[in-house]
Amino acid sequence: MTFRTVLRAGSTGLALAALCAGTALAQTAAPEAPAAAAAALPNKGDTAWMLVSSLLVLFMTLPGLALFYGGLARSKNMLSVMSQITATAIVMCLIWVVYGYSLAFTSGGSLTSFVGSFSKAFLAGVTTDSTSDTFTKGVVIPEYVFICFQMTFAMITPALIVGGLVERMKFSALVLFVVLWGSFVYFPIAHMVWFSEGYLFTLGALDFAGGTVVHINAGIAALVGALVLGKRIGYGKELMTPHSLTMTFIGTAVLWVGWFGFNAGSNLEATAGAALAMINTFVATAGAGLGWLFIEWVVKGKPSLLGMLSGIVAGLVAVTPAAGLVGPMGAIVLGIVAGIVCFFFCTTVKNALGYDDSLDVFGVHGIGGIIGSIGTGIFVAPALGGVGVADYAMGEQVWKQFVAVVVAVLWSGVGSFILYKIVDVVVGLRVTSDQEREGLDIAEHGERAYNI
């Protein structure tokens, strides 16, 4: 049901498929027939890996992202950041099983290029016997674990947007926005990219673990949100230094570890493909951390911890669409480029344009995602160490990647803009200026992060 790519038809994959089918089933007859695939039983190793991966991605959101973002905010807004991320996660968790999974991963009839149907709303028809396909023919995983794994993606993506809106957006507005954004932006884009009948899937755009679906999507939504909401009071005039880079460090470390579930888990099987995604998630990240560290050292005079941490996240973002598709050396180049370019976007470009993307969601996730998506089209080339795709031509593949980026940017940009405006009319986007000055922790939640 969800072949994200159709490229893993190499001999290794086939051999593994045969092996898995043989050991798990003793039913190797006619493994190529669709009927046989439907009857395939999940491999326990694959299932175990996907169960663990789902938890790793959950851990990225809570507490990883919450600490990463929270530390960058001022202490008076720490709990507000954590509340918004937690609320996003639990709301998305529920609407995912109510109708999100169905909209993303079922056939949508005449609209199937863009969105699925409600045929699996409330997980109708899903049982412990139902399975989801992987990249390898005849290899399946339990549908429940696939739903959980994809659920964690649906939880973290809108949570990423919070970083562009912090310290001024009303809690009620955020919750309403997340419900709308999940429904009208995330589910359709996930369908377009990852469902076999989706527009970008059939186009042949490559997105291994969610560069377009997750990062460009969230990065653009955060940028639009920062523009619609406006700057924080005092932005550019008052001190808005991160209140705890210690928290940000912990959050980054959790994100990195969790990201192995995100990227290597997106292989859907516990195979060499997952191992490739894993090593790429190591080295691209290290490359980007180093890239940001050095460029900041040269330009600003000091090598900063926050620089390394930002580079690490930029590298993780950039390698996301590429993880299982490029070689480790290509991943390093991708990482270094992402580290350097994201640095310039978070500093020079942001300052020049004057928008208050508070925690640099666009600069890191939007730009890092675009670099990763385009870069995937380049470094997937076997000549550059990538795994290759059928009928690969670099120019053509890069063009497909570019189309995917443009579709994601437009869909998320226009969609998010409309949704922000709707939310503004319904509940109002911003807290009052008094509440903003007091801090959202006390003003909105009636509690304080640190009672020292």
């Binding site: 001190l239 808005m240 230094t241 991160p242 900041e296 330009v299 600003k300 000091k302 900063s304 926050l306 620089g307 930002s310 640095f343 978070c346 500093t347 020079t348 300052n351 640099d360």
Partner: protein, 112 residues
């Protein structure tokens, strides 16, 4: 009786305390403060964004002493808190009108 109040660099506190103990000062009040003088502030850089931090962290110490000790206290602080760099801080001396030790009710010189 005088209060000697000094604003010093935070990392000089231990040295100052040792020096004051050595000349017979038995008590000291320390407060973490922020402020600026000729040193003005410094620059902090977060993700490439530069922030001018105009209030720097300093330590304020207050010590109440008899008139006989005042000059030696001032000298001790001056000698130990000095780095020669801008931002070493300042010392102020005030008169005390009255002092009481709460536990015993002793007053003035007996209370110090």
């Amino acid at each position: 009786m005088k209060i000697v109040m000094a604003i010093i660099k935070p990392f000089k506190l231990e040295e100052v305390r040792d020096a004051l103990t050595a000349i017979g000062v038995h008590g000291l009040t320390v407060t973490e403060v922020k402020g600026y003088g000729r040193q003005k502030g410094h620059t902090e850089i977060y993700r490439g964004a530069e922030y001018a931090v105009s209030f720097l962290p300093k330590i304020k110490i207050e010590v109440a002493v008899g008139n006989d000790l005042v000059e030696r206290v001032v000298e001790a602080i001056t000698a130990t808190a000095r780095t020669g760099q801008i931002g070493d801080g300042k010392i102020f001396v005030f008169a005390i009108e009255k002092a009481v030790r709460i536990r015993t009710g002793e007053t003035d010189a007996d209370a110090l």
